[in-house]
């Protein structure tokens, strides 16, 4: 039997290959992300004095919307072809599938963020007044927080009515401490007014706690009929 | 004192919410009883 990681990476590679062949979903998501940024630019005046203080929040709300769009199609392919049933009866550990999906979503959402972030910089004339390198751990940890819980709740929503609505409904309340931390950390780094240190540590704690919980409980969710 | 209106509002709101919930329980109970009866009649 193959090792855990080879299964995970194999599944991930398959997903990436499939996604790359038909770039429909990817292109649609990229365009959606762009639209979200533009809407924000029109709603929140970039030239206003206060804009530097709220941009942290705007950026992460935009990322959150884009993430939900990406997460909603996580299991769509598996559902269409009864792959989940095959997976349930196979001896492969459920967590390998879960991690593959999380990594795939992480890559997907990171691509979207990499597109949106420069747009925000341009439209809002951003200059980072604090330690800019700290934005990297914030982005990585924050994205992981959204993606790990999002993938998990997407699986939970599979057998519900209004599946696409169920995902954000479950994800948003649980993500609140992560969102508070991401936004506060980003704002502190952008304005340079306060330390983002505590929030980065809190994000790390959040990620550890919920990654563990997801790994421990994914088997239960997968077995749900 | 103007602020005493808020005191009234809080107490009335509390019991309104409780009344609404208890009312929904009664309604659901009645509906279930009706369903039970319909099943009993062999619909």
């Amino acid at each position: 039997m193959k090792s855990f990681w080879s299964i995970t990476l194999g599944t991930l590679a398959k997903d990436i290959r499939l996604e790359w062949r038909s770039k429909d979903a990817l292109n649609a998501m990229l365009f959606f992300s762009l639209l979200v940024v533009v809407i924000f630019v029109f709603s929140f005046d970039p030239l206003a004095e206060e804009s530097r203080h709220i941009v942290g929040g705007l950026v992460w709300v935009a990322f959150l919307f884009a993430a939900v769009v990406a997460l909603n199609q996580t299991w769509a392919r598996e559902l269409r072809n009864q792959v989940l049933d095959a997976y349930r009866v196979s001896p492969a550990p459920a967590n390998a599938l879960f991690l593959a999906k999380v990594l795939g979503n992480f890559i997907m959402v990171s691509i979207l963020e990499a597109l949106m972030a420069p747009l925000f910089v341009i439209f809002y004339n951003l200059r980072v007044l604090g330690p800019a390198w700290q934005l990297i751990p914030v982005a990585l940890l924050g994205t992981w927080a959204l993606v790990v819980n999002g993938t998990f709740f997407a699986a939970m929503s599979l057998r519900t009515r209004s599946r696409e609505l169920m995902l954000p409904l479950l994800l948003f309340p649980v993500s609140i401490p992560a969102v508070i931390s991401m936004v506060a950390a980003t704002t502190n780094i952008l304005t340079g007014e306060d330390s983002a240190h505590f929030f980065i540590v809190l994000l790390l704690t959040y990620d550890v706690v919920f990654t563990t919980a997801c790994l421990a409980l994914f088997e239960t969710v997968l077995q749900a009929e | 004192m103007n602020s005493i209106r808020f005191l009234y509002a809080a107490y009335i709101a509390t019991w309104t919410i409780h009344a609404l919930y208890l009312g929904s329980l009664v309604r659901r109970y009645g509906r279930l009883r009706q369903q039970m009866k319909d099943l009993g009649k062999g619909k």
């Binding site: 649980v174 401490p177 239960t220 | 809080a10 919410i17 919930y21 369903q35 039970m36 062999g42």
Partner: protein
Amino acid sequence: MKKAFPILAVLTAVLLAYAFYEAWWVAPVDALQGQVYRIIYYHVPSAWTAFLLFFINFIASVEYLANARPSTQRAAKWIVIAIGTLGFIAPFIPQVRQQLPVGMYPSSVATTALIIAGLYFLTGKYFPGQDLDLLAVTAAEVGVVFCTIVLVTGPIWARPVWGIWWAPGDIRLTSTLVLWLIYVSYLVLRRFSDSAQTQKLAAVLAVFGALDVPLVYFSIWFFRTQHPQPVIGGGGSIDPRMLHVLLINWTAFLCFAYLVCWSRYRLEKLRREVEEAEVLESLLEPAGPVAPSSKAKGALNRGPQ
């Protein structure tokens, strides 16, 4: 058992009336806030009741998940015993005692640990098998009702006292809001889920919610230290006469909550009976329906486990 209900209902009504009388006329006037502070006698007991109910839901959910397999059931029991024992002894050890936050007595930590362990075993004993899930959904729904009251009376109290309806750094009210959101999503999941494993999924969500709560608290707490917020009428000891009235009201609301839970529990039991009767009906019908409804299918799978 059922005959006791009307008697208890009358007694509870009397108790609530007495508690109201105490809150409005007997309790002394607050020096700073005037009469408006009396909202506390509904706001705080509702909060304590809601938190207790959510905690019961958490215990029932964990136990429901643990009981899925005998191995996890045994492991969970030992873990709870360990938590109870350690939680009871540890606060009295000097090194641990120093770590406790100011104002937290070792005896209250010890008692809490015992109560948690006790609740776990009591719910396991009196709510076997599927009844645990019944308890979970009951506690969640009634908890949401009381939590709604907290979130409604909170701003009503804040407006005349602070001048604003809501302060984002108000750690207690904001944490309560998140808790409310988590449990409303829990109830929505229950209603929208067609799976035969709805109960398990809901229990998983309850565990996630419980893990979330301390993180919410810390994130708001640190946000507040960086952005000073208006201070509520907290800090400093409460007038013993006020505390007395507060406890009377809490007792009354606990009795009320108990009766509401009892009603909701019976309602849920009846609902499941009706569902199973419907399934039986559709199976026994001679020229049966082409495909049983998904609800019926779910009930069939949810049957004896």
